[in-house]
Symmetry: C2
Subunit: 361 residues, 2 copies
């Protein structure tokens, strides 16, 4: 791939352009708002001048509702040898393109599983896709040329290609991304009318469950509107389980021992299925669930404490895989949880103790 | 307070005993399993010999279902001047004690908001309650003496006392602890039958939402069984919202534009209420939601990288409030997100860049 045209210079489009430009591809930038294309160009993502002839690959990075129309226009004008989009849903855009009577031999739908809280070209980075899954959804009529162009793009962005059927992709993101978003919002929504005293009792559990409830509603309305069927299907499954759980909890209030036993069995089943499902969530390295051992160390809240602890861990030859800092409420001491490979935990505990740290069991 | 009797030497009881013993209180330890009391004693939590006369305070740290019977026996035997329990529910045990005809003037129900993944005396630490809320639920018949003994205990454990009505407490923990646990399990349960390819697409959002779904089912069945009514009430509210959301998503599939508009409004309302509720969750310092600025830095996965980065942050005089490490899938580089006070972020970015770190915008 020597030339590319990025249509839509938001976070994703500009990040793709930065990655390609950084690896020697000549990138042309286009946006319905020319100042956004100019911003992306100023960041080093390419040029906002139009290409003189067809480019190798056109990358359509516009919101889901605009994908089909934008692609159709690009294909009709023959701006590229191959075409792909990067929208978060894949079934609908393909069906819209088919309805428009566009020849789809040079098109492939794709979805890089990357993003961040901020949007727009200024939030873009060349390494946004480093190591992330990038879904490709070839169909029967997808040409080999465009599939290879897409694979080259994914490689240039240092992402990991994952091939899926378009509708299977939409069901998968409904399950692993869209449903968790809505459920997080639903739990957080319960807090809107809670007493201040109740809110004071929040701990790390609800903090984690509701973190993504802080996401941008406008962006999420757009994502969910493009994938309503699969999300409704997964949520209906959650709703059925939830109704069963409410009923089981009511049974636990019964004077009838048999009813209580039945309620206990349902609640326990939900918790155990939760264990099983959670065990399938891949760790941050993407290589299946990683069972790190936690070494917990008390620290004061002064600058330099974390440096000292990581220096001591490094001297012990131990690689810290993840860190969580838990500050105690309203005071200046905290607990650092160092996640390490289980085999390394005893050595790390011993080394830190020897250097005077207060290590918890 | 000079003498105490801890009945039940699990995680909470032994941690209380360690805190009291460390501050000069003579602590007696009792457990239905004498080897657990002996283990706690060996850890320095006190003596497993019975006291010769009544102690100042008896702390009942047994599972919720055993609280009333254990307390009733202790009160009848006059083992202490004051009595309290530390169970995670407060309304039920009080009503059971009333039904048993026990004089409750020397009793107060309490609940320290602290815990950890592991249980038993070996998991205990003297600092488990440092800075954590500790709920006290005095009633009309609660004597001043036992209230003051409870306040002294909370102070000796370095926790923060929060006074609440017993039933208000149970509704509060249903909202901020028990409901998030069940909802996390329900989302994770959806993954049990997912395709392996779908599971590969999991990102940080679902990872956070389902973290506590890994919790111990046996312990949680016990907690939920002791508080079924309030949890069912909160979950029923979530269920009603959820049903409305499923219906709204189905409306988004409609050909009727007005129906689609109605569906969009409902989905957006859920997301916005989620924003509002999430904003009420206190930060780790417990002083209201803390809006830290994130400074993101690319690092390699070698030991010592984190030490270098924290040392450089320390040299810049910046205190890192929280850390999150994001490893890229399947490779050896990662992204460290340093959370700092907003005012400190520009200085930290500049200092790290100057020292050669790759800092993201």
């Amino acid at each position: 791939m020597r030339t590319a045209l990025v249509i839509g210079t938001g976070l994703i489009g500009t990040s793709v352009a930065l990655a390609l430009a950084g690896r020697g591809v000549t990138v042309h930038l286009r946006d319905h708002d020319p100042t956004r294309a100019a911003t992306a160009a100023a960041l080093g993502a390419g040029t906002d001048e139009p290409p003189e002839g067809p480019v190798d690959l056109a990358i359509v990075a516009v919101p889901p509702t605009r994908v089909a129309a934008t692609l159709a226009e690009a294909v009709r004008n023959g701006v590229a040898r191959g075409y792909l989009d990067v929208a978060s849903v894949k079934g609908g855009p393909r069906r819209e393109l088919e309805a428009l009577g566009i020849d789809l031999g040079a098109y492939i739908g794709t979805h890089p599983m990357a993003g961040k809280e901020r949007s727009g070209p200024l939030a873009a980075t060349a390494d946004l896709f480093d190591g992330r899954p990038w879904v490709l959804t070839p169909a029967g009529d997808t040409g080999t040329d465009v599939l290879n162009l897409a694979l080259e793009l994914v490689a240039l962005c240092r992402a990991v290609p994952v091939v899926m059927d378009a509708d299977a992709h939409d069901r998968a993101v409904a399950l692993v991304s869209h449903t968790p978003q809505l459920v997080s919002s639903l739990v957080a929504a319960r807090l809107t009318e809670a007493d201040e005293t109740a809110v004071r009792l929040c701990g790390q559990g609800i903090r984690d469950v509701t973190r993504i409830a802080a996401s941008d509603p406008t962006m999420w309305v757009e994502i969910l509107s493009a994938n309503p069927g699969p999300v409704a299907d997964v949520l209906a499954g959650v709703a059925a389980d939830l109704d069963g759980t409410v009923e089981a909890l009511r049974a636990l209030q019964s004077a009838d021992e048999e009813k209580r036993r039945g309620g206990t069995a349902v609640v326990e089943d939900v918790l155990r299925r939760g264990n099983t499902g959670r065990a399938r969530v891949p760790g941050k390295h993407g290589a299946g669930p990683v069972a790190y051992e936690v070494v917990a160390v008390l620290i004061s809240d002064r600058p330099g404490e974390l440096a000292r602890i990581f220096a001591d861990a490094g001297r012990a030859g131990v690689n810290v895989e993840d860190v969580r800092i838990e500050h105690a409420t309203g005071q200046q001491a905290g607990l650092v949880q160092l996640m390490v490979e289980p085999a390394a935990a005893p050595a790390l505990s011993a080394a830190l103790r020897q250097r005077g740290w207060s290590v918890r069991q």
